[in-house]
Each structure stands twice: as structure tokens, then as C-alpha cells.
Amino acid sequence: MSLSLDARTEVLARVRSALGPEPVVPEVSRGYRTTGDHPPGSPELLELLADRLRDYKAGVSSCTADEVTTTVAALLDRLAPGGRLLVPPALPEGWTSGRDVLRDDGSTTVDVLDTVAGVLTACSVAVAETGTIVLDAGPDQGRRALSLVPDLHVCVVRAEQVVHTVPEALRRLDPRRPQTWISGPSATSDIELNRVEGVHGPRTLEVVLVVG
């Protein structure tokens, strides 16, 4: 009889059979922290985020909203002098004024992405405790390939986007949007379990924290 069943029906039937007629669903224990010790964007969190990012070999600079352009320019002059900069469709124009930028309209091929010197994006949320920035493909972040193929990723994080804990971050995010959680530059622990930075993703990650 079972041979004539399709796989879906059979697997589900096996699961039901394994569980028995009335499986008991235990109550889920939720004793863990769902809020942090500090409100989003507080100085303590910015300091913690910077510390965690540096620990995993990301570069960190801080500036005010008025200084984003000059801070980004200084970083690019140092890390990608003269190189072409890739930006997502709705990155604030002011952040790159006077620069040769390639603004992605969704049609940039992978081979072209592979030729730019770096990419500049915003982010959606950042987790201080783990040193994580989350991109959710918003218009100032772009599709996922943009922050993947170029070897340098500069990411601008606004203070109010910084939360303390992972639960706070998840509650701010929309699961229907594709997401990339980034904690430091590409790395591997595959050789003798030591962390080494720089494999397939961007080998350099620079985070610009915008305060005030």
C-alpha cells in the first residue's frame, strides 16, 4: 500500500505515526533576555559595537551626520585610491559627492561587480553585543550581490540603528526581505580551528558610525 503513496503523504504519515495519537507539546521556556541593558543608539552600545567590530578585524570610524561625506572620502582615498565605487540605487547622493560612482540599477553583471574597488552601503540594524550589521536589501543597501563581490565594503551605521541584543534586532526585521548578517570581514576557522580573515567575501570591512 505504501508504495503507491506519494513521498509527501508518506513522510507526513510516518511523522504522525512516530509521534503517536496525542503528542504532548511542552511549553517553551522564555527566561532569556529579549531587551538589552541600554536603549538603542546609546553611547554604551556604540562603544560596545565598535569594540566587537574591531575584535573581528573590521575598521571602525565615528563621525556626525555632517561629516559622513568627508569620512567616507578619507576611507576610500586610503583603501581604494582612484578606484570606482559601487553604490546601491538609493544611497544618499551626498555621501559620495564628487566621486566616480557606479549606481546599481539592478542590471550590473557579476563580472562588472568584480571590477569595482569597493561598495558603500547603509544598513538596516546593528547588534552591539555580537558586532553584527544586518543588511536587508533596502534601497540604500541594494541587492545581496552588491556587498558580496567587491573586495571592500564600507557600511554606514546610524546610531539609532544600533541595538544591544540579537532578539531586539530580529524584532526590527521583516523576514520576507532577504537578509545578510555580517560580523566582521570574511573569515575561516577551517585550518587548525584558528580564525583567519579574508576568504570569499569582502576582505576589508569598514564601518562608519554616525552619531548625532
Partner: protein, 503 residues
């Protein structure tokens, strides 16, 4: 409940995939113990990772609460598995994905092969995935003329070395840096990657070489195959947790993505990820967070693969689910913390376990997936433990591995008795013990006789005398164990000598 309630669960069929080795654990372990290079490599690596894990776990004030949440979440998920699987399927489908179901390894391999063939591609890039290792997907694709490129650094080392994985997280943990350099030197030029003749064995340089070797493959690939760390039933969201960016390359650049996932990988809701995204990285690589976590829900127009297939795999999982004690093994999130603390794993390495799932979790998962028959190779795995309990202490979802090992040992003894009409040595020994211990006079006599065993003792380093091997049939017991020599005097005898009279 449906009318299918009586349908029996089925173990993973043999002959396909990598759930079973060709010899029992004790035999394979003895050979591994003789390999001093292997023991050195694994000892160094596990020592490093144990220290890192302990440090980042100590940072988390609510670690125990997170573990308890992880345990109860997984138990609740298993109890609700049918409805959650249907919800996942519905959500993925509503967001443009296609869901496939596979009863076993052969069926999953056939589905993936057919999907790749439909795209016209003759190669796929792969993100490290235990499920596809388990079902032997690479071999199945190869048989169909499709090249499967492993892109995780450790998997690449294993693939180029014509080797098999020995660790869940770091499949090439048994290789040290200079061995890895030799593998690269031997294999990469033939695949079109020019190597610097002065390439050192510095891990950074080796990682850069892997980047160069795989770059063109990533940029041209049209089809990717991945596993999944988590699938959210509520939203249809899938997640892959990784370090190098090879996962992002596979999940983002190709036109078609095929994800193979065991049916136990579900979490009920989006916010449930907050528990596992904290537990997993700290337990596995000893990081506060792994460098990259990708999450996607079906197909996003203009971003990433425009064709997405999800293959849900049983392959013995429902058989594990049917065991009320053993089903906890399905809670595993594949962090490998239990391997890294296990005194047995540290000495034998992963290959001795035969299965793609080694270490303590493998010792309870593999034999349950393939079935304890009383005569199969995996029957030896529940005995590959000293029951010290370190695995339970570090498990982020509190799987009680020692208790399940004991339960499986009991099941194995029963299976053996069922499988053979001739009593097993254990059964005979227990029967003999029952005869001896039911009479005080017989017991005294037996204890005195055991003194003869002192003749078998051999001095070990440190002056302690141990029995290394007993004559047959007891040699089966000592093939993998030493015995302490019996004392010169029994307890009863010392009592009588010192206190005069019987205890």
C-alpha cells in the same frame, strides 16, 4: 489525526550515502590511535576551540536560559512537526519556491539530479551541508555527469584530498597546515589554478589561495546546492550560517538554488531564531557571531536566485522520532561542541565513527537513523563513549547524550538477543552472575578464584598493573579496554583478617 496513523517509520536504507562505515568503531579506532600525526592535529585543534567556546559562553549572562529555551523549542517543534512542515511548505510555495519531499537518500538524490538536469547545467557549486553529505549527493551527481564543487574551505580540502570528512564543522580537522599545502600543490594546478611556487603553509596564504581557486567558479555557476541551518515555518524563511562568504556566493549569484534539508531543522516562528542565532555560533566556532548569516524567503524578484527548490528529507528521521528517548537526537543544531570536548573523539578522530556524523552526537544519531539491528556496523557506536557527560554539559540544546547512549546499548542487547537464537555472551555472563551471586558460598569462592587474574596483569607506566587482554571469549571485552588486576585480597577477606568474623 489522519487515517495513516499506522504507517511504520523506515530507517535510512543502506548502500546509499554516508551514514555507515565498513567496520565497527573499536576496529577503526584502534587504527586511528596508532596515527600519531592525526592525534596531534585533532588534539591541538580541539584544545583551541574548547578555550574559545568557554570564553564566549562565559560572556552571556543568560546562557542557561537560552539552552533551556533551545531545548524546549526543539521538543515543541518535534511534537508539532506535521503541521509545521505543512506550514513551511505553504509559505515557501506562496513566495515562489517549490517544495519536494524525499523518503530517503536515493529519492533526494534523484530529485536534485533531475532539477539540475532541467537547468541544462553540468556543474553545481555547493555550500557545506551535512544533509547532502549524508545522502551521498556528490557521488550521485557525478554518476549523472554533473560536477559538484565543494566551496567551503574544509570541504574543498577534503574533496581535493580524495578524503572523507572527520568533523561536523571542520571536515578537514584531521589535516594540519602543511598537509593542506601539499594537497593544494598536488591538486590545484590540474584544475587550472596556478600556484605560487613559494606558497607557505601560513593559514592566511592558504585561505587566499582557496579564494583565487574558486573565484571563477563562483562567478560562472548557474546552479547552487545548499543545506539549511534553520527553516522558519511561520514565514518560509531559510537560513544558512557560515564564515567564509562561499555560502553567500552560492546563495546569491546562481540563477537556481536547490536546498536539501532534514525535516527536523524547523523552528516554529521568526523570533525563535533569536535563541538559535545566539546558541549556535558561540557553541560551534567559539565566536560571538559567525561572519555571515544569510536568510531568504522563497524568491525575491531582482535579488538572488530566481528559481528556488527546497527538498525535505526523511532518510530515517521519522524512525528516530518514533523512539521516545532517542528522538532528542533530532534536536541537534550541528554545532559540534560535543565533538570538541569528547575524550574519545579527541583520541580517535571522526573517521573511526564511519558515519558523516561523528563524535557523541553521531554515536546516538547514526545508529538510530540506520537502525540497531543486532548485526550492523553502527551497532558499535553507542559503546564509543566513556559516559563522562561532557557532551551533555556543552550541548546548546541540552541533548542528554549519555542517557541516550545507555538506552541504545540496552536496545542493542535486546536486538542481538532477538536476532540470534544462540544466547549472546552478555546474556550468558548475566546468567552466570545470577547463579554466582544468589549464593554467599558460591560468591566467596568466585571472588577467591578471580585472584588468578592477577597473573594476567602487566605493569603500565606509573607502576599500575593492568590486564591488557583476557583469553577468549572474554577477549571480546578487553579488545577495546584494559581491566584493573583483581586485588590480592577480597573485601570480605580483609574484614575477616582485621576484625575477625564475617561482615
Amino acid at each position: 489525526m489522519t487515517t495513516f496513523l499506522g504507517l511504520p517509520s523506515v530507517h535510512a536504507p543502506g548502500g546509499v550515502g554516508a551514514l555507515e562505515g565498513s567496520e565497527g568503531f573499536a576496529t577503526a579506532a584502534r587504527r586511528a590511535l596508532g596515527d600519531t600525526q592525526l592525534r596531534g592535529n585533532i588534539g591541538r585543534a580541539t584544545t583551541t576551540i574548547r578555550g574559545k567556546r568557554a570564553a564566549v559562553v562565559a560572556e552571556v549572562p543568560d546562557w542557561e536560559e537560552l539552552r533551556e529555551a533551545g531545548r524546549t523549542l526543539k521538543a515543541a517543534t518535534m511534537a508539532r512537526l506535521p503541521e509545521l512542515l505543512e506550514q513551511l511548505e505553504q509559505q515557501v510555495t506562496a513566495r515562489g519556491g517549490v517544495v519536494h519531499w524525499a523518503r530517503d537518500a536515493a529519492e533526494a538524490n534523484a530529485i536534485v539530479t533531475r532539477l539540475v538536469q532541467a537547468t541544462g547545467a553540468d556543474e553545481v557549486v555547493k555550500v557545506k551541508s551535512m544533509a547532502t553529505q549524508e545522502i551521498g549527493l556528490n557521488e550521485a551527481l557525478e554518476a549523472a555527469g554533473i560536477a559538484a564543487w565543494e566551496t567551503d574551505l574544509a570541504e574543498l580540502i577534503v574533496q581535493l584530498g580524495h578524503d572523507t570528512p572527520s568533523h561536523i564543522l571542520v571536515p578537514a580537522i584531521h589535516r594540519n597546515r602543511s598537509e593542506i599545502r601539499e594537497i593544494f600543490r598536488r591538486e590545484m594546478p590540474g584544475l587550472g589554478t596556478e600556484l605560487d611556487p613559494d606558497m607557505t603553509d601560513d593559514p592566511r596564504e592558504l585561505a587566499m589561495t582557496a579564494r583565487r581557486h574558486l573565484r571563477r567558479t563562483f562567478l560562472r555557476a548557474r546552479v547552487a546546492v545548499s543545506g539549511a541551518n534553520f527553516a522558519v515555518a511561520e514565514t518560509g524563511t531559510l537560513s544558512v550560517v557560515e564564515s567564509e562568504g562561499n555560502g553567500r556566493m552560492c546563495l546569491t549569484l546562481p540563477q537556481t538554488l536547490i536546498t536539501v534539508m532534514g525535516i527536523e531543522k524547523l523552528v516554529p516562528t521568526w523570533t525563535d531564531l533569536e535563541v538559535f542565532l545566539q546558541l549556535l555560533p558561540r557553541s560551534s566556532t567559539g565566536e560571538r557571531m559567525n561572519p555571515y548569516t544569510s536568510m531568504w524567503t522563497g524568491v525575491t524578484p531582482g535579488d538572488g536566485p530566481q528559481e528556488f527548490h527546497l527538498v525535505l528529507l526523511d532518510n530515517g528521521r521519522t524512525a528516530v522520532l518514533g523512539d521516545e528517548v532517542g528522538r532528542e537526537a533530532l534536536h541537534c543544531i550541528r554545532c559540534s561542541a560535543c565533538l570538541n570536548v569528547c575524550p574519545v573523539y579527541e583520541r580517535t578522530g571522526g573517521h573511526a565513527y564511519g558515519s558523516v556524523y561523528p563524535g557523541p552526537i553521531g554515536a546516538i544519531l547514526s545508529p538510530q537513523l540506520t537502525g540497531l539491528t543486532g548485526g550492523s556496523v553502527n551497532d558499535s557506536l553507542p559503546y564509543a563513549s566513556s559516559l563522562c557527560g561532557a557532551c551533555y554539559d556543552v550541548c546548546p540544546v541540552k541533548i542528554d547524550i549519555p542517557s541516550i547512549l545507555v538506552e541504545l546499548r540496552a536496545q542493542h542487547v535486546e536486538a542481538q538477543a532477538d536476532a540470534s537464537r544462540v544466547p549472546t555472551p552478555e546474556a550468558l555472563a548475566m546468567r552466570a552472575a545470577s547463579v554466582a551471586m544468589s549464593s554467599a558460598a558460591r560468591w566467596r569462592l568466585l571472588q577467591r578464584t578471580s585472584r588468578l587474574g592477577r597473573l594476567l596483569g602487566r605493569a603500565r607506566a606509573g607502576g599500575e598493573r593492568r590486564i591488557r587482554s583476557l583469553p577468549p571469549p572474554l577477549s571480546a571485552w578487553t579488545s577495546a579496554r584494559d581491566l584493573p588486576v583483581p586485588p590480592a585480597e577480597t573485601f570480605r577477606e580483609s574484614w575477616e583478617r582485621e576484625r575477625g568474623g564475617r561482615p
